[in-house]
Amino acid sequence: MKKFAILLAATTLAASAFAGNITVKGSDTLVILAQKWAEVYMGQHTDVKIQVSGGGTGTGFAALQSQTTDLCDASRKAKGAEIAGCLKAFAARPTEYKVALDGLSVYVNPENPLKELTVAQVGDIFTGKIKNWKEVGGADAPITVYSRENSSGTYEFFKANVLMGKDFAASAQTMPGTAAIVQAVVKDKNGIGYGGAAYGGSSKLLSIKKTDTSPAIAPNEETVVNGTYPIWRHLFVYVDPAKDKGEIAAYLTWIRSDEGQKYVKDIGYYPLPKNLRSN
């Protein structure tokens, strides 16, 4: 076991010693975007090699701690235990970079007459407090709730910011991905789900009201970037500050430049507002 670990560490060291080799690991939410960035960047800088893999934010942080990856993609902020792990591994907090914005939309079946909900109503639907569409002004039919796996950063974000930390209804169907949620909602006329706006497909995206009295806002680039759409989050990249120089620093700067941010929209997320691009 130990020998194997040493061997692994040795090969990783050898790999990172090779000039211009960057490994990226982490969030599945970010993996497509990270691959796109890597592809474009490698096209422009032929001496740099970037390897991107997913596996989940937790996996990314574990790899960051064991120093088997240079960059960790994260769809949520680092947790206390993970920062502590980094401190134990390389005696420093990982540096956090915001790399994109993501607006979360609420999907319903296209036949559903409902157009808008408040954040609180959405929360009550997902906790199971509201069980019938007529309670929020829809048809008299039971609501089927579709949610993500609890390993998803999206799940965690939704639970903390829309359900306000309360539990999802036990009957909420857990789907393996956003695409599966959309698929299910499109097939189920009483279904409701959530996920990135870009994945919406043929489902209907509800407009969301922050409070009872505020206007209903539809999720799109403008409303997410200027912060009027109430359900949005940052996506992050974490790095060991000791490694944040040379090629890696150049790559991180490029990602957050106008050039790098151009590709964010192709993948379905939203570019960072200008004031957040340098930090």
Binding site: D28, G55, G56, T57, G58, T59, F61, A62, Q65, K79, G80, A81, E82, I83, A84, G85, L87, K88, A91, A92, R93, P142, T144, E149, N150, S151, S152, G153, Y155, E156, K159, A160, M164, G165, K166, D167, F168, A170, S171, A172, Q173, T174, M175, P176, A180, Q183, A184, K187, D188
Partner: protein
């Protein structure tokens, strides 16, 4: 034991024999190592060393010097090695992180009685509890969030529910098909049907899962008119498709290996082909058929992908038309995001260890029963 055929083994044979022995030994070693690994990762849960209480009193970093190194080391969850290597600034940052984690707790949760509970204690793992915000004691699996609820009962119920539906669907069909193919079918029909059923095992379970998710769920809902489209029933039927080829091929082998003399004797005495198959061949092959069912159970309880695709809400309910979540699904879906070495990670490993134990015991029982059957059939008891 060696090869004893009245002559000394040639060097080549000797080598081959030892090599095969080594391979089988390494297989046993591998199983043992995997089990040890799983058990080691799960050990803190069994020993009650994990603590998930949301509100804990952190030691303020300024009071760092008031505590002995041993206390600090335990508080910061460091090994003696790690502690020795730390400089003061890093230790201080570690303590800061602990304080920050407490500061991050939302106001609503500070005074919640649940926030003081260590949810990884056994009574919360296996017994229902009246959490705040719920009207009655409930079994809840919600391992992510402010108050982490790790009750494993819904997962066990879900696993059993789906597995049993799968077996109830698969065993009669597979055994029936095996009887037909081995006893009743004409050779030409057998040559088509047998490979066709065995081909079913070549379909990747992801594909079966997608098919169930997109097609079967809709069809079954339109037939049975239940409310939840994706439920344990759909998952069980889809699982049945994955299990049928396993049960079929073993049962068919067992039925075919019944001595021809039995069949010929029965037919000669005037029994019809159906009577021969049902009353002579099937009882004689029963241990093999039972073994097929037990192996099918092992395959079904360990199947991940199909259940993961079709249904995975951790509802505490025995109704087959409610959703369910199996243990394998839980491990597969949640391991990637669990904080390494954290309580959630440990509990997932504990589930793995329990699943391992469950399959081990079921195989032991299967083996034992088969042995008893065999002795009985051979008239030795």
């Amino acid at each position: 034991m060696g090869i004893h055929r009245g002559h000394k083994a040639r060097p080549g044979e000797w080598l081959a024999e030892k090599f095969i022995f080594l391979v089988s030994l390494s297989a046993i070693l591998m199983v043992l190592l995997i089990f040890l690994f799983v058990a080691r990762e799960a050990l803190p849960v069994f020993l009650g060393q994990t603590n998930t209480a949301l509100v804990q009193k952190p030691i303020p970093p300024v009071e760092m010097d008031k505590h002995s190194p041993a206390e600090l080391q335990a508080y910061l969850e460091l090994t003696p090695d790690q502690y020795a290597k730390m400089n003061k600034a890093t230790l201080r940052s570690l303590m800061d992180v602990k304080v920050e984690a407490q500061d991050d707790v939302p106001e609503d949760f500070r005074n919640d009685p649940d926030a003081k509970i260590n949810t990884t204690e056994w009574k919360y793992l296996v017994d229902s509890h009246k959490w705040s915000g719920y009207d009655k004691p409930e079994y809840i699996w919600q391992p992510v969030g402010q108050i982490k609820k790790f009750n494993i009962i819904p997962l066990f119920v879900g696993t059993l529910k789906i597995t049993l539906i799968g077996l109830l669907f698969a065993v009669p069909l597979a055994v029936g098909a095996a009887i037909y193919v081995s006893q009743l079918a004409r050779p030409r029909v057998r040559e088509i049907v047998k490979p066709a059923i065995e081909l079913l095992s070549g379909i990747p379970s992801v594909v079966v899962g997608v098919f169930a998710l997109l097609v079967m769920a809709t069809v079954l809902q339109s037939i049975f008119h239940y409310q939840t489209r994706l439920n344990a029933f759909v998952a069980g039927i889809a699982l049945g498709f994955a299990v049928i080829p396993v049960i079929f091929s073993i049962a068919e082998d067992a039925l075919t290996s019944v001595p021809r003399a039995y069949t010929q004797g029965a037919l000669a005495l005037g029994a019809s082909r159906w009577q021969t198959a049902w009353q002579i061949v099937l009882p004689a092959a029963l241990p093999g058929v039972f073994a097929a069912a037990v192996l099918g159970f092992g395959r079904a309880i360990g199947e991940t992908m199909i259940v993961l695709m079709v249904c995975s809400a951790s509802v505490m309910s025995w109704s087959i038309f409610d959703s369910a979540r199996s243990i394998t699904t839980t491990i597969a879906a949640e391991m990637a995001e669990a904080v390494n070495g954290g309580p959630h990670y440990r509990i997932l490993f504990m589930l793995g260890a329990l699943l391992f134990a469950a399959t081990f015991v079921s195989n032991m029982i299967g083996d034992f029963v088969i042995h008893r059957f065999k002795l009985k059939l051979e008239g030795k008891r």
